[in-house]
């Protein structure tokens, strides 16, 4: 989401609507919106964006906001997360991504995201999101300062919540990339660790339907291999056609649909294009 101070509120809305229209024209079925927490924008601003997006593109699925943002809105409007969710849903919100989960363990959050809501709060807010009738995903950011027990604890808490709500669609382990951030002592994620973590997630989260690999962080090669280690869904930006493919980059920001279809086939699996709610759109 574009939300710099340089743009007026009206300008921001215009840019978002423009982007959504382009995406819809290009055949997109989903629009995914996340942003930092902007101190000057009122809650109504977000409701207006949702309503305007829905009015312009009734067929587009709007996936937006994380538990962190819902918690922020709750504070801003002095309401419960459940009430915030109800208002967003009424304005047009269809589902939520799973960001901000990081690692739930408090001593890890203290080191990597001290300003962010606690793991307990994340789970509490997410429970209200699910109870309000919205599906979401769950992520885990691993490979920084957490230990293996912290990862298992993270999975255990997600599994317990899922047993109560059945509101999670997919679990998305995200491999931490030490180069681009300011977490000292972060160790990064080796190939073996990445595959083991994905495989353990698949085995342990047996009440989650989907385990997703995010290739932008894993690299295309490891993400493809992960299809043999419990992963059934690949995520990252897919474009219709890529011009001037840079063969050098193993982790491109975007890949073409043909490339992705080919990678899945070469892994011995059948590629299926889906919508946000995992309904099949096309089988290749």
């Amino acid at each position: 989401m574009v939300a710099g101070m340089a743009l007026t509120v009206g300008g921001v809305v215009w840019v978002i609507l423009e982007r959504a229209a382009e995406a819809a024209d290009a055949g997109a079925t989903e629009i995914h919106m996340v942003g930092g927490l902007h101190p000057d924008l009122p809650f109504d601003f977000y409701l207006e964006i949702l309503a305007a997006l829905k009015a312009d593109n009734p067929q587009l699925h709007i996936k937006a906001f994380t538990a962190v943002e819902i918690d922020y809105f709750a504070g801003l409007t002095q309401q419960s997360p459940a009430d915030v969710v109800a208002e967003l849903k009424a304005a047009g919100l269809d589902s939520m991504p799973g960001g901000g989960a990081e690692i739930f363990a408090a001593q890890v959050r203290k080191q990597i995201c001290p300003e962010k809501i606690s793991g307990e709060r994340w789970l509490e807010v997410t429970e209200q999101v699910h109870n309000g009738g919205l599906k979401s995903n769950a992520t885990m950011l691993f490979g920084h300062v957490e230990n293996f027990a912290d990862r298992v604890d993270h999975l255990a808490r997600l599994r317990e919540l899922q047993d109560r709500t059945d509101g999670f669609q997919a679990f998305i382990p995200l491999a931490f990339q030490p180069d681009n951030t300011r977490v000292p002592a972060a160790r990064g994620v080796g190939g073996v660790d990445a595959l083991k973590t994905l495989a353990v997630s698949r085995i342990y989260l047996d009440n989650f339907r989907h385990i997703k690999a995010y290739w932008v962080m894993l690299g295309l090669k490891v993400a493809q291999v992960a299809l043999a280690f419990g992963v059934n869904d690949l995520d990252g930006t897919v474009v219709e056609e890529q011009i001037g493919h840079d063969a050098g980059a193993d982790s491109p920001q975007v890949v073409s649909k043909d490339q992705l279809v080919e990678l899945i086939r070469k892994a011995g699996k059948q590629p299926v294009e889906r919508d946000t709610l995992y309904n099949e759109i096309k089988t290749y």
């Binding site: 080796g190 190939g191 073996v192 295309l220 291999v225 063969a247 050098g248 080919e262 892994a267």
Partner: protein
């Protein structure tokens, strides 16, 4: 088929071409990987993963062969064309020695003017100045080219270079050891039999060599299998290959273009290499072409060696793939995969355990 193959491997009966092709094209990735891993553990029971501290020095990028898959070569008249002087090379090897390096992997293009005396003098001086560094240089195509340019036989050429200080040969330029593939991707390069003849001659002189394979440049799976069997048959003559190194074609900036082989394809070819080349002691993972993560995974698909630390690497980098690893990172890569990292010489003697 899998049961037949599994029991053959358990009784150390060699697989045939049909079984190899089935493994490559039909077998499940993890089933193939498990077979390769089990043979690798039988051949290397100590949980060790080895590497060598080395540097690739490309003495020239001028090359008359102009392979379609290569992004490194330049025409002699091209502004980027270069030829290193002896002094340039010595400076690079000095840096290698400062980093505790023990292997110099020197390869070039096939330069139209460099005859055998240039190499003889270079090797003599290298051995004299840097006795601790193994001169592991010149692929078969270069040996044949230098011989032709100097009007001597390949055997004489290799003999003289050996005497001057060349100690072992890297197995580059093998690409796919099937001539109709070579015709497509490297029409001006030596054929597979000439490649094999140079290796045979080196092994006859007790010069160890490695063997490589570059796959993913349009060959058929049968041709990958043929390549492996040709290396296996060559190895059964004199056991001169220390290691086999498969890597995938890097299409960036090349005339051939196309896509790079995927991760699954790499692991399958690697695992199959381990299984078919049961008479070649070591299989190297290629972190230079696959990246650190895939190289680590490769240690569970038949590879027991991580190749060199490569203080310098130019050829793969020219194709836009520029993975770098320090010695510490390679050690950590092996260790965090559950293996004991060891530093080795070119000929696989262990120098240090970590």
């Amino acid at each position: 088929m899998l049961n037949t193959i599994t029991s053959k491997l358990e009784s150390t009966t060699p697989l045939d071409r049909t079984e190899a092709l089935w493994l490559l094209t039909e077998a499940d990735l993890l089933a193939l990987g498990r077979l390769a891993d089990s043979l690798r553990r039988r051949m290397h029971p100590g949980q060790q993963v080895s590497f060598v501290v080395d540097r690739n020095v490309n003495y020239t990028n001028v090359c008359t062969t102009q392979c379609r898959f290569c992004a490194f070569y330049r025409d002699q008249s091209h502004p980027d064309a270069y030829l290193l002087s002896y002094e340039d090379i010595f400076t690079k090897v000095e840096e290698l020695v400062e980093h505790g390096g023990t292997q110099l992997l020197m390869q070039g293009g096939l330069h139209p003017d460099l005859k055998i005396d240039w190499f003889e003098e270079l090797f003599r001086q290298l051995r004299q100045r840097f006795p601790a560094v193994q001169v592991h240089s010149l692929s078969p195509a270069e040996i044949v080219h230098i011989a032709e340019l100097s009007n001597i036989s390949m055997a004489e050429c290799l003999g003289r270079l050996h005497l001057a200080g060349l100690q072992s040969l890297p197995g580059g330029g093998a690409e796919i050891l099937v001539d109709n593939v070579r015709q497509e991707i490297s029409p001006n390069k030596i054929g597979w039999q000439e490649w094999a003849e140079v290796m045979r001659e080196a092994h006859r002189r007790d010069m160890p060599t490695t063997a490589t394979m570059m796959f993913g440049a349009g060959e058929q799976p049968q041709e990958i299998v043929e390549h492996l069997f040709r290396v296996r048959e060559l190895q059964s003559e004199k056991n001169g290959f220390t290691a086999f190194i498969p890597w995938s074609y890097q299409p960036g900036n090349t005339a051939l273009g196309g896509e790079q082989a995927s991760g699954v394809e790499y692991l399958k070819v690697l695992a199959l290499s381990r299984l078919i080349l049961d008479n070649v002691p070591n299989i190297q993972a290629s972190w230079v072409t696959q990246g650190a993560r895939m190289a680590q995974v490769a240690l569970y698909f038949g590879a027991n060696d991580l190749g060199g630390t490569m203080l310098e690497e130019n050829v793969v980098a020219a194709a836009g793939v520029d993975f770098r690893m320090s010695r510490e990172e390679i050690i950590e890569l092996a260790r965090s995969a559950g293996f004991q990292p060891v530093r080795r010489t070119t000929t696989y003697e262990i120098l240090e355990e970590y």
